[in-house]
């Protein structure tokens, strides 16, 4: 079978020595982690390896010998290297030798216990140690969900990535350390601005504790009984601003928790939440600074009242149109007038309330605008709530029209059954035949006729107000979509994929390097980064709303029957 040797590219210039790493017998491959240089004492090397094995839980062993000679190969050196194979008994003993500056190395194996001394083919795979150590291999999404994953079915690549990642401790020894053993492996060249990073790490612990304390205070206040009384709790559940603030509070709690993130997913989630909050607050503060300059709040308040007036006037015109002969249809005059006057009176009331509030609008807007510093999402939620409050009369009209229409439809269907001599059996939940008395039939038929001929009028009012309500719902829905986008986008992961694409690996890719006959096959293993779509899908932050609540058919059915529709569902709400 073919023998695969994974060799780190940083060790290509190392002095002669012995190779240490991990041997994976199921795949017939050897992962070389470092080179130990001459001179060394074998006992010390074995001791060091057992220490490393204890800490990293990776079965590190001596795999073979490495000779980097500047001159021609010496016979005595090769014999010495073969003799080393007897001291560190490892099956098979790999011997790699490099002459001068040649790119093509010769690689051979010594099998002592095998029955057939056949020459097996050797593949030499170079890998970048630092990148493989830092990267995280993402399994394809469909296999990640399958729970029955046996250890020997695990992919070969993940075994190699795991080996290098877990041996991080091995890579911590510095080349300038004066110990009994001299190693060559990937060396960190020091990180720029590491002092700042250290200071931030030191400062983050008390900051987290302070934040956690403040958050516990705030959540204690929120959960107190005062705010649980019926009108207030109903109000909090209806306002989307409170939902968004609660969501952000949860995020802050996740960030400020004292435990360090254990897995990669937890770490990425924390980082994503942190970056998302940062961007949110920055955009909110930018918005706030823009709003408060040049007295824009004042202008906004000045245009708000005339706009509400304008909407009310348009509604009045619409009702006058409906009370006449809308689109050429002939309405029932009496019902028309009743409904029209009823709605006109509501509009009159609404206008009076708006005018009552008009002196305070500017001050309220000024203080409400200050809360934009909590984040752009909060500002958008406040905008959506303001729209909901300003169009409250449209919502009321929709509810009145829908209830009236719904009653009418149910009445009509029940009387239609009476007309045909049938009845709805509540016990059996089906339609049964029934014999009615003559006076029952008479009154039923009369009522049926009345309801039927009044249907167009009610249906038209219902249609008009449903369309208006749907318009408002669509506007609010767009705002919520934007808020959800800002909430759930994993910005840190996207920036990581952009700048350090080797950290998020979907797999590997191989490049065939120059070959020469008689020498082993040379391949370069590089990291294949995840695509942006999979990055977003894997690291999306969960949000509190789910769309769509109803499918299109059930929505149309509800509209036809006159049932009230609530298109946007929040996860905390009960089903109705």
């Amino acid at each position: 079978m073919v023998l695969k040797v994974f060799f780190p590219s940083c060790c290509s210039v190392a002095e002669s020595g012995i190779l240490i790493g991990r041997w994976i017998p199921e795949q017939n491959s050897a992962v070389v982690l470092a080179v130990v240089h001459f001179p060394f004492i074998p006992v010390q090397v074995k001791q060091y390896l057992s220490e490393v094995q204890q800490v990293t839980k990776v079965s590190v062993a001596v795999l073979g010998s490495w000779s980097n000679s500047k001159q021609e190969k010496e016979e005595s050196l090769s014999e010495f290297l073969e003799d080393l194979g007897t001291i560190f008994s490892h099956e098979p003993w790999i011997q790699i030798s490099k002459e001068g500056d040649s790119k093509f190395w010769s690689c051979s194996t010594l099998q002592k216990r095998s029955s057939n001394p056949k020459e097996e083919e050797i593949i030499l795979v170079y890998y970048d140690q630092r990148k493989v150590m830092l990267s995280h291999l993402h399994p394809p999404l469909d296999t990640a969900t399958s729970a029955d994953h046996r250890a020997d079915d695990a992919s070969k690549l993940s075994a190699i990535f795991d080996t290098v990642a877990k041996s991080k401790m091995l890579f911590m020894t510095d080349r300038y350390d004066d110990g009994p053993i001299k190693l060559t492996h990937w060396q960190s060249d020091g990180i720029e601005a590491s002092i700042i990073v250290e200071l931030m790490k030191q400062a983050s612990v008390p900051a987290c504790m302070l934040l956690a304390f403040l958050l516990s205070l705030i959540s204690g206040v929120c959960r107190s009984r005062v705010l649980k009384f019926w009108p207030l709790s109903f109000l909090w559940s209806k306002l989307s601003t409170c939902e968004q603030l609660g969501h952000r509070l949860q995020h802050l709690q996740v960030i400020s928790s004292g435990k360090k993130a254990q897995t990669q997913t937890q770490l990425m989630r924390k980082a994503n939440i942190f970056v998302s909050l940062l961007i949110d607050v920055t955009l909110g503060i930018l918005l706030m600074s823009w709003l408060y300059r040049k007295n824009r709040i004042g202008h906004l308040a000045d245009t708000l009242i005339p706009m509400a007036d304008h909407v009310a006037e348009e509604l009045q015109d619409l009702l006058q149109w409906l009370m006449g002969a809308p689109a050429g249809l002939k309405m029932n005059r009496a019902l028309d007038q009743v409904l029209g006057r009823f709605f006109l009176y509501h509009i009159h009331l609404w206008i009076s309330y708006i005018h009552l509030m008009s002196p305070f609008i500017e001050m309220i807007l000024w203080y409400v605008g200050l809360s934009a510093c909590l984040g752009l999402t909060v500002a958008l939620c406040i905008l959506s709530d303001i729209i909901a409050l300003l169009t409250f009369h449209i919502y009321c009209f929709y509810v009145y029209g829908a209830r009236l229409y719904c009653l009418k439809i149910y009445g009509l269907s029940s009387l239609w059954r009476l007309f045909r001599g049938k009845k709805w059996n509540v016990l059996r939940q089906r339609v049964d035949s029934c014999s009615y008395d003559l006076d029952q039939l008479f009154i039923g038929t009369l009522l049926f006729t009345i309801l039927l001929f009044l249907l167009p009028t009610t249906a038209l009012y219902y249609l008009v107000f449903t369309l208006l309500r749907l318009l408002v719902v669509i506007v609010q829905g767009l705002i919520h979509l934007l808020v959800d986008l800002i909430d759930s986008l994993p910005l840190y992961s996207i920036i990581l994929r952009l700048c350090r694409s080797y950290r998020l690996a979907a797999g590997v890719k191989f490049r065939v390097l120059e070959q020469r006959d008689g020498k082993p096959l040379r391949l370069l293993m590089q990291i294949n980064p995840l695509s942006y779509g999979s990055v977003v899908q894997t690291y999306r932050l969960p949000t509190y709303s789910c769309y769509p609540r109803d499918s299109w058919t059930s929505l149309c059915k509800k509209l036809f029957l006159g049932e009230l529709i609530y298109p946007w569902k929040h996860k905390g709400e009960k089903q109705d």
């Binding site: 079978m1 216990r113 029955s115 593949i123 399958s146 070969k156 590997v508 065939v512 096959l521 391949l523």
Partner: protein, 187 residues
């Protein structure tokens, strides 16, 4: 390393290049038909004529600059995301199979399938509109069921070579895949 000419399913000329790196490593690359200058200039002149017609109607010079902008952006998007220049298959016995598509702008998209997941490489038939075309595909092993196939990965989807080219590629792949069945297990 030799290059042979074949035809794609639509009749355009394509070239197959086969390289043997070692006894268990082979690279097969199919070069797709190039971007034709004729079609490029036809599309560009059509868009610009339409834009000029709009400009004559509306007297707004924004239309002309928008047309130039759209043509440039469209060309860049086409070269970077749509037009595939070469599709290659790298078969390394005992490691896996690597499928690479290189786009006209130089971008390369690679997928590597480990040898443990590969069940077989076969030529399948497909009915496409009024034609029957052949395509080469890799069958992936189902981890739970030794006889089952979990996924079919079609190869050379953009160049669509005909059966004669596919048979060459199939024979090369099978020679290497057979080695893993006949090779003795390591002790």
């Amino acid at each position: 390393m030799e290059e042979r000419r074949y035809r794609s399913a639509a009749g355009a000329p394509i070239a197959l290049r086969c390289r043997q790196h070692s006894a268990s490593c082979r690279e097969l690359a199919v070069r797709c038909p190039r971007l034709q200058l004729r079609s490029l200039s036809a599309v560009t002149s059509a868009v610009w004529l339409a834009a000029y017609g709009l400009f004559v109607l509306s007297e707004n010079s924004v239309v002309l600059s928008a047309a130039i902008f759209i043509t440039l952006i469209g060309l860049i998007v086409y070269l970077h995301f749509v037009k595939i220049d070469q599709e290659s298959l790298l078969v390394i016995g005992s490691l896996g199979i690597q499928v690479t598509s290189s786009y006209a702008s130089g971008k390369e998209s690679t997928t590597f399938i480990e040898i443990g997941q590969v069940k077989d490489v076969v030529i399948n038939e497909a009915i496409h509109m009024q034609k029957v075309i052949y395509y080469l595909c890799i069958l992936l092993q189902d981890p739970g069921d030794p006889q089952g196939v979990s996924e079919v990965v079609p190869l050379f989807q953009s160049s669509k070579p005909r059966l004669d080219c596919l048979i060459e590629v199939y024979k090369s792949c099978q020679e290497i895949l057979e080695q893993r069945k006949t090779a003795p297990q390591s002790s």
